[in-house]
Structure formats: C-alpha cells, structure tokens
C-alpha cells in the first residue's frame, strides 16, 4: 500500500477548514493533541493564519486505560493560552481510530471551560470506531488489514508509515 503525501492532505484540510471557519460567527481557536495531533495542528494553524496562539493537550491524565497500562512516563503539560469559555474550537489529531483519545480530549477540554462548539479535524480516519465520534474534516480515510496501523512521524518532515503489529 502506498502511503499518501502528508503535504497534499494538509492543503486539502486547510481548504475544507476555511469553509467551516467562514460559517462561524467569530474566529476559532485551534488545539492539537500531543504529539502527532500537535504537529498537524501547527501546520494547519500556520496555513489558516489563526490569530489566537495554538493550544496543546496531553490527554494522558484522562485516558481510560490507566488501570491496565499505568501512567505514561513522559506526560507533557497541557497548554491552553486562552480562556476556553464561548470559543469555537478546532480540535486536531493525527489519526482517529477507536475514538477513545478524542473522548479523553473532550473531557479534558470541558475541565478548562465551556466551548461554544468543537470541530474535529483528523489527518487520517481509520474505520475501527469504538465510540460514537466522527471527525468533521478528514485528510484521508483508509481501510487497513487486521493488525495494521498508521503512524505519523515528525515534526519535520511529516510522513505516514504503515505499521504491522
């Protein structure tokens, strides 16, 4: 399977996001999920020339597998350099698969405040969803064989690779 060119996906996502932003009553803020989502968000944030600084979420404290997997040894601080109340948020991740990361990210967001709306943008959408969560803007939808995963390497250049487990 040939992997798509990340640059092309990012350009397409930026265009799609521009349409969504045009429909919002005020400019949105963007938040990337550590670490791959943050790389994608940095690029989109620059391409869309958003005014507010980029936010960063590390969802390690909100994971649902602490009991089994324990605490990740390199948790990064979450940084939201703006008040979240009444903001339109574009939440960015690299790969959406089960939906559990996004569930954790939404929980964490709401501990910071009450956003007016949340849009989900993902570079890669894999169909193995375990929760009712769907991205609004997608770079590419991919169907993988059982045991296959997609991994984003970065931050520069950003490349997608196929991983066999």
């Amino acid at each position: 399977m040939t992997m798509p060119d990340v640059e092309k996906l990012l350009s397409a996502m930026a265009l799609a996001l521009q349409d969504r932003i045009a429909q919002l009553p005020k400019p949105p803020v963007m938040i990337g999920i550590h670490s791959g989502g943050a790389w994608v968000a940095e690029r989109l944030h620059a391409a869309l020339k958003l005014q507010q600084p980029l936010g960063l979420l590390d969802i390690s404290f909100y994971r649902d597998d602490f009991e089994g997997k324990g605490l990740h040894p390199s948790v990064k601080p979450s940084v939201l350099p703006f008040a979240l109340d009444d903001q339109h948020v574009i939440l960015v991740d690299d790969v959406v698969m089960s939906g559990r990361t996004i569930r954790a990210a939404l929980n964490e967001l709401f501990d910071y405040g009450r956003p007016a709306s949340v849009l989900l943008a993902a570079l890669v959408d894999l169909p193995q969803r375990e929760l009712p969560i769907q991205p609004d803007v997608v770079g590419i939808r991919m169907d993988l064989q059982p045991g296959q995963r997609v991994k984003l390497a970065g931050p520069a250049p950003l490349t997608l690779t196929l991983v066999h487990r």
């Binding site: 390690s60 404290f61 602490f66 324990g70 040894p73 601080p77 979450s78 940084v79 929980n107």
Partner: protein
C-alpha cells in the same frame, strides 16, 4: 522477620514506584520522572475544574499518627485533584485510645478496599513496616516518619530548586539548623546526591549535627559566614521547641544570633540564592521575618508545587501497584 531494604521494597519488578518510603537508593532517572510528571500536574491547578480522573474510584486513606495540618491538607488536595476518594484518620483520637492494635486497624481499612495509605508516624520505619508486613497490596506513601525520611517534602524541594535554578550539576545547596532530628534534611541529602548537585552543605551547632553525616557526601559547617559562602540554594529547617527543653541548645535567641537566617547572614550567599523552608516557619528563630517574606524566598511557591509533586507520586505509585496486581493475575 528481616526487613527488606526500603528502596527494594518501594519498586516493583519493572523498576516502577509502588510505594514511596524514602528518596534513599532511588535512581536519578526515577527522581527526574517524578519531577517531570509533577511539571504536567502544575497545569491542572490552572484548569477551571482542578481535577483529572486518574485515580477515580480509588480510596486513599490519610493515616496521621502525628499532627500536621499542612502536609495532610496538601496530600488530601493532591488525592482529590486526582479524583480519588479521601478518608482522613487522626489516629491519636481514634482506635489506639480504645486499645485496638495498629495491625488490626490497618487490616480493617484494607478490607474496606482501600488502595493507598498515606502515613505520618513519629517512629522511624513505621510506613516501611506497614508496606512490608501489614498491607503489602496497598500503596504506602511516607508522609514523614520519625527522624528517618520525608520523601515527598524532599521531592517538592527538588522541584522548587529545578524550577528556580535549573540543572543540579552547578548548584551548591546549604541545609541549615537541626540536622540531627530532621527527616527533611536526610531525604533532601539523598535526593540531591542522586540528582547530582555539585555540593551539599549542612550548617548548624555541633549538638544538632550527626557525627558521621559526612558519610552521606555532605560538607559540615558550624559557622554561617563560611557555610553560606557562594551558596545557590538555602534550605532552612524548623527548630522544634522540644530541642530547647532537652538542653541541646542554650536558647532560641542564642540560636537565632548564630544560625538564624537574617538579612546580614544572607549576604554571604550568592545574590540570587533562593530561600526554602518546609514550614511552618518560626519567625525570629530560624529565619528573620523580612527574609521569609523577601523576593528571594520561595517558601509559598513550595506549598503550591507540593500539591503537583504529591499528585505525581500518588499516581506513579498507584500505577506501579496496578502493574504488580495485573502481573500477579497473569501468573495465577
């Protein structure tokens, strides 16, 4: 019953923390992991909802055999910010007055499905005893035992130093006062050694400095002018009133004159030296009021960092206990 060395007892087979009894024998990597994890928890204090769900559904018991409002409060806040349920038990007012043995009481608490004990005890080694022989499947955190150790205090001091001074390799740290009775000093010395501080000094009267303390890798000074020369970090200790009564010291005013951190004596240290104190402060005994309130004092920052550092220790120990439990399930 031969006790296991604490640093063996407090790690699981994967080398993760499962109890936190002492800073002695822990690696630089593990101590750094505690500090890094604490860094991330500091931002939780800035959330509108100051809580993360890591220890949701866990029961944490504060077992305080000695009074300590501040330590108990910060442990309680740390556990609550991790979403744990917290029980505070003040033992002096509880079962021991009814004649129940410590072991029976702890077993009762264990059978109420407690997941973690935070233990403050006047006897050195009490938390170790509980972790090894009484309730081995409960994570035990030492909140200060006798003269032995106060590891979370030492780690919040290390966090404060790193936050304000950066890397440990370039730092000279002076610990002043009653070193002999101080569990804080001992835990600080072990942590500073592990983290690679350039030089560790202790300063105090001969009667309050243990004879063989040099073996821990510290330099001893009996004079503040020499001891504070070129120091980057000053850690003052609380002078306990009972030391005066036991004739180890002539008087409070004499102690203050010789070892109290006054504006004059502070001038011996580097101009950007920071001042720490584990609290509660005796103003005018071990530290001048104006010094404690000065810009170089980080005493109140320590209180704030203490919550994040304790959140890091509680979640790491719970994580290590969980890993242990799931390994045992796999073996069974």
């Amino acid at each position: 019953m031969t006790p296991t060395k604490p640093h063996q007892l407090q790690l699981n087979e994967q080398g993760q923390l499962r109890h936190f009894l002492t800073t002695e024998g822990l690696s630089r990597e593990l101590l750094t992991e505690i500090l890094d994890t604490a860094d991330s928890f500091v931002s939780v204090g800035r959330q509108a909802v100051k809580k993360v769900p890591l220890l949701r559904g866990k029961t944490v018991v504060n077992l305080f055999f000695e009074n300590s409002t501040r330590t108990r409060t910060t442990f309680e806040l740390a556990a609550k910010r991790l979403s744990a349920d917290v029980l505070n038990i003040n033992i002096s007012a509880s079962s021991t007055s009814k004649g129940e043995s410590l072991r029976d009481m702890l077993w009762n608490l264990e059978y109420m499905d407690s997941d973690m004990f935070i233990v403050r005890h006047g006897d050195s080694g009490a938390p170790h005893f509980i972790a090894e022989f009484v309730c081995p499947h409960v994570a035990v955190i030492n909140a200060g035992d006798g003269r032995h150790a106060h590891p979370t205090q030492a780690m919040l001091d290390m966090y404060t130093i790193r936050r304000h001074k950066g890397a440990f390799e370039h730092l000279t740290v002076a610990i002043i006062g009653d070193i002999l009775h101080s569990r804080v000093a001992r835990s600080q010395i072990h942590a500073l050694n592990a983290l690679g501080a350039r030089e560790i000094r202790v300063i105090g009267p001969k009667t309050l400095i243990p004879k063989d303390i040099e073996a821990l890798g510290v330099k001893v000074f009996y004079n503040m002018a020499h001891g504070l020369h070129d120091v980057d970090v000053i850690s003052t200790l609380r002078l306990q009133k009972e030391r005066m009564e036991s004739a180890l010291l002539p008087s409070e005013s004499e102690f203050y004159r010789l070892y109290g951190l006054s504006t004059e004596k502070l001038a011996f240290a580097k101009p950007d030296a920071i001042i720490m104190h584990p609290g509660p402060i005796n103003r005018g005994v071990e530290i001048e009021s104006a010094v404690a309130d000065s810009e170089r004092s980080v005493i109140l920052n320590q209180v704030n960092y203490g919550i994040a550092v304790r959140m890091a220790v509680l979640s790491m120990a719970m994580s290590g206990q969980n890993a242990d439990a799931s390994n045992q399930r796999e073996d069974a």
